[in-house]
């Protein structure tokens, strides 16, 4: 199995190499990068390209490692036991109240799967360590039913992080790691191409220039990312804004049209407008 990129996702050679290393050696791949650099989408694309089912696990601050294996739904069992009646039978077998987690589903699947553990850094600091053994061995024990769950096929595991917390060394040593660098202009053109095939060259050129310049504005709370660029392009197209409008003829600085799609933070919009205003009056 090899991932060669796809026609809906632009993967640089270094990213592709890391993905294939993870697939071949069957070790998790940890992906970091600014928001919007395609970390989540990568797992979807790889699963798609390999024809493997994707099992997603979106992590929240309250997520526990155990939930990825299974949960014992004690509340339902309690309710059933109070109701009595025809549910009486059900109550007796604890197995009826075991809810399978993502990892369990992956381990018992009939073909290799792709697991996405998205935004692992949201969870408690102990979370990655709690998963070490299971990710290593791809097996675990269900105490309630005294059953060993073992991998039929080792899943391919992608883990993303936004760097909110440091991850433990023991965990890191077991993973391949790749940091998705913010796309340079050339890569960004390819990404835009994937989303808007046939976009006019002139418009793309001007738009990218505005976009990358905007990212350089010092002091922004949130730099516009790929998603914002794509949203903005969609608006430009819908409003039929011509490329010339993105830069005025006299080469004077100006606020680009529909810039609200690029700057989502109100403070940033104010800052930007003020900077443009100042620049104009300094000429």
């Amino acid at each position: 199995m090899r991932f060669e990129g796809s026609n809906t996702y632009v993967a640089t050679p270094d990213l592709m190499l890391a993905v294939n290393a993870a697939i071949t050696l069957q070790r998790p791949l940890l992906i970091k990068g600014e928001p919007g650099t395609g970390k989540t989408m990568l797992a979807e694309e790889v699963a798609n390209a390999l024809g493997a089912p994707l099992l997603q696990w979106h992590i929240k601050s309250t997520t526990k490692a155990q939930q990825g294996l299974y949960e014992y739904d004690a509340v339902s069992r309690l309710r059933d036991s109070q109701l009595g009646g025809k549910d009486g039978e059900r109550v007796r077998d604890i197995a009826n109240y075991i809810v399978k987690g993502v990892l369990w589903q992956a381990l018992e699947a009939d073909k290799p799967t792709v697991i996405l553990i998205d935004e692992i850094d949201k969870a408690d600091i102990e979370f990655p360590n709690d998963l070490l053994r299971e990710l290593d061995r791809m097996e675990f024990y269900v105490y309630e039913t005294q059953q060993l769950v073992k991998a039929k096929h080792r899943p391919i595991v992608f883990i993303t992080s936004n760097n909110e917390k440091e991850l433990p060394d023991a965990f890191l040593r077991r993973c391949f790691f790749h940091y998705i660098k913010f796309p340079d202009s050339e890569t960004m053109q390819k990404i835009v191409d994937v989303h808007f095939p046939g976009l006019k060259k002139a418009l793309l050129k001007e738009a990218l220039e505005v976009f990358f310049e905007l990212r350089e504005v010092p002091g922004l709370k949130k730099k516009p990312s790929t998603s914002e660029l794509l949203d903005w392009l969609k608006l430009l197209l819908a409003e039929e804004i011509p490329p010339e409008a993105l830069r005025s003829k006299d080469r004077k600085v100006a606020v680009p049209p529909l810039h609200g799609a690029l700057l989502k933070n109100e403070q940033d919009v104010h800052l930007f407008e003020r900077l443009v205003f100042m620049a104009k009056h300094n000429r």
């Binding site: 309690l78 909110e164 917390k165 040593r173 940091y179």
Partner: protein
């Protein structure tokens, strides 16, 4: 050969482990990198470097090691572990060989490294077991690993700029960039959550679980509440020479505010004297005597001072030295008082560490702090947090 590369990375202070090195060997054996050095660069980086803040360091180390190398023929073919072991054994004394099985790889690599160092230190000339005529085993123009074709002296063999030579990850190096997010990560080292004190909180999951296990008889479980018990007392210099560092300090401050429930902060100018203040616009109207502050916040608070410590020595050492008002006691006395009360204390300095030696006042204050002054970089912040946790 490859093991030298590994040791070279270690010598360059990259936190690489044997486990990861073996992973790289495995990947090479699977032919994941072809003959191209670019592929080898990407692959070794994915195996060995687990934090983008170390990418730049890796780039430099990689560049230094493979300086002039254009191709690695057949690298993927035969680097089985067995071969590696053979190589190691060749260089070990019989006693060490005996220890080999017991020690495990990490230890062994360490020793291997020591041997290399020793040899380099003792006599540059006579390398016995490296067999290169005694050149430095690491770095430029030194020992080149077997099996790797070297570009040689002719500069014509050099290819154009390599990926790692672009140093694209320079600004991710933790001694350079320090954004709010990074600061938060560093400050988190201080967080110590603990369940302590009497049972306070209803353990819902535990209660349900036990009740169900009891076939429906309610069995209430309590557990101690979990809370962040770290308390921080922060003093920030907002004096004139700090203007250059305002953004950094703002970030530091906003990160600290969101990280600690018990954060108390005050401002000062250059050095600390009998008064501090909380609202800079009302600094003259609303002052807090330092004595009161120290009285109010117990010695379980950790003390962090942030300032460039750049002033005339007079301002630290003499009564009346303050630029703001007539202080009866020298700043040094007040600093000492603070340190006596708060044993866990650090000074964070936004000025680059290499400049410290040239500023007398920085040295004086660092002395008063017993060397607990750290640069306001990610790496410095981490050292400081470690100090505070002692």
């Amino acid at each position: 050969m490859l093991i030298d590369f590994f040791l070279h990375l270690k010598a360059a202070k990259l936190p690489v482990s044997t486990r990861e090195f073996l992973m790289l060997l495995e990947a090479l054996r699977e032919r994941l990198a072809g003959h191209s050095l670019d592929d080898f660069y990407f692959l070794s980086r994915a195996c060995l470097v687990k934090d983008e803040s170390n990418y730049d360091k890796f780039d430099r180390a990689f560049g230094a090691y493979f300086n002039g190398v254009t191709e690695i023929p057949g690298l993927e073919a035969e680097i089985p572990e067995e071969w590696l072991r053979q190589l190691m054994k060749k260089h070990l004394t019989p006693e060490e060989k005996a220890k080999l099985e017991k020690l495990g790889w990490d230890k062994l690599m360490e020793q291997f490294k020591e041997r290399l160092k020793e040899q380099k230190g003792r006599h540059q000339g006579g390398s016995k077991w490296i067999g290169t005529g005694g050149s430095s085993p690491f770095g430029h123009g030194g020992y080149h690993p077997e099996g790797i074709r070297i570009g040689g002296d002719s500069a014509g063999n050099r290819t154009a700029v390599k990926v790692w030579e672009n140093r694209e990850y320079r600004n991710l190096d933790d001694s350079v960039e320090l954004g709010t997010r990074n600061i938060k990560v560093a400050l988190r080292r201080l967080r110590r959550f603990a369940r302590e004190g009497a049972a306070e909180e209803l353990d819902l999951d535990g209660t349900i679980h036990d009740t169900a296990q009891n076939a429906g008889w309610l069995d209430i479980k309590m557990r101690p509440e979990r809370h962040n018990k770290v308390k921080v007392l922060l003093f920030l210099d907002i004096g004139g020479s700090m203007d250059d560092h305002i953004k950094l300090c703002e970030e530091m401050f906003s990160a600290a505010k969101s990280e600690f429930k018990h954060l108390e902060y005050f401002y000062f100018h250059n050095c600390i004297y009998d008064y501090v203040w909380r609202d800079n616009r009302r600094r003259h109207a609303e002052r807090f005597p330092l004595h009161d502050v120290m009285h109010k916040y117990g010695d379980d608070y950790k003390l962090i001072l942030v300032g460039d410590a750049t002033m005339s020595p007079y301002e630290v050492l003499h009564p009346g030295g303050s630029v703001e008002y007539m202080n009866e006691e020298a700043g040094a006395a007040w600093l000492q008082r603070l340190l006596d009360k708060y044993p866990r204390a650090v000074w964070l300095n936004p000025e680059p560490e290499r400049l410290w030696d040239y500023r007398q006042s920085i040295q004086i204050i660092n002395n008063i702090f017993g060397g607990r002054m750290f640069p306001l970089t990610l790496e410095g912040l981490e050292r400081a947090m470690r100090q505070l946790n002692k």
